[in-house]
Symmetry: C2
Subunit: 252 residues, 2 copies
Amino acid sequence: MTAREGRLYVVGLGPGDAGFLTHDASAALEEAEDIIGYAPYVARVPERPGQTRLASDNRVELDRAREALSRAAAGRIVAVVSGGDPGVFAMASAVFEAVEGEPAWRDLDIRVLPGISAMQAAAARLGAPLGHDFCVISLSDNLKPWDVIAARLEYAARGDFVLALYNPASRARPHRIHDAFGILRGLLAPETVVIFAKSVGRAEENIFVTRLDEADPTQVDMSTLVIVGARGTRVIARAAATPFVYTSRKGP
Amino acid sequence: MTAREGRLYVVGLGPGDAGFLTHDASAALEEAEDIIGYAPYVARVPERPGQTRLASDNRVELDRAREALSRAAAGRIVAVVSGGDPGVFAMASAVFEAVEGEPAWRDLDIRVLPGISAMQAAAARLGAPLGHDFCVISLSDNLKPWDVIAARLEYAARGDFVLALYNPASRARPHRIHDAFGILRGLLAPETVVIFAKSVGRAEENIFVTRLDEADPTQVDMSTLVIVGARGTRVIARAAATPFVYTSRKGP
């Protein structure tokens, strides 16, 4: 333990492109003595002499959070880095779950710095598909039962929300998006707008607009964000470019 | 018409604090010849010699979008500025609604630059209340009927989503948040976590954590973002600070 008070930043890096970084996030990455995160995110932080970098595997979020909190408690200035927004299906929940488990960490100086989440970047590329009421759902059933996810898909579809679907598939569970489309096809019109946004903000970015009855869920992988439109979601064809897509503020 | 091709940026300024701005947003504001937007947002853009500034009232979104598109079509580099994320209950939908109405605008170079939305900044201040599945609903019934809003609140509550409620009240319609709480109190447990986040990112910021049975909707005004927790939303008391709030990745 040092006498100096430590600090933990939980920093959102946004999708791949550095242009999505906020000024506060850049400043925290510059100030931090220790950078901790899933290896591909740590690799996106510019290297600085004297800064410690701890890159870990994707499935050890709680361990990573505890390591970061221990270092901050010992007086270090630590940044846990996360893709997108740490508050949206990313590291912030794991950090506070760890804090809840250890009373000594409750009065630490912890500052979450939000970032642009994948759904926002994907939406911006096309226009404004999230321009009206929407639901954000992770299809991962690692930590919650599939029944809960299925029920939420059904409520969201019945409520005519736009849907942003995170974690639609993984190597271990490629079938989740197929199951989700099965539910949605039973509830929504065949012409419902569907967007597959792959690797948004990275060199290999690929964004594809289709309709629910023609969408092929085998094209979805773990780097894909899926948006399903509401009845008020409209497609504007263009001569030589991806169409614009927006959701009307007025409904259908 | 000039020979040069114009461009329209739709720029998210984030909540008040300039630290929330992305690097891409800053670059577009620097490049733009014309800055167009609701007066308080235009006032947040640093002045630059030679740049035209057109500040308008809040309730003329479509007029403002058309003005910006006309200028871009005439070869100007234009930035329409919006608080938060232009894609979330802000200017981007109005811009594409205007584009849909005028075929000559469909092949313009339009670039939406996402920003940190109020719900992300409010969530970050407290921890990670949006850390699991959530719904985002505007309570404004200016353009959609209240019945649609009421139904969405009910579906979201039954689905055990966290709720982020935008436009909870206005001078003309102060009762909307009262009606919404009436619906939610009939469906959710009395101890459900409620957050009132007023003027996030501005000097007068005030964030308050309470529970559904004790929340007083008369404290909500047009600058307030309301977050209603799910069953998995947890409050961590602290010795000398606002509690942390996060939503568990595992559910309740």
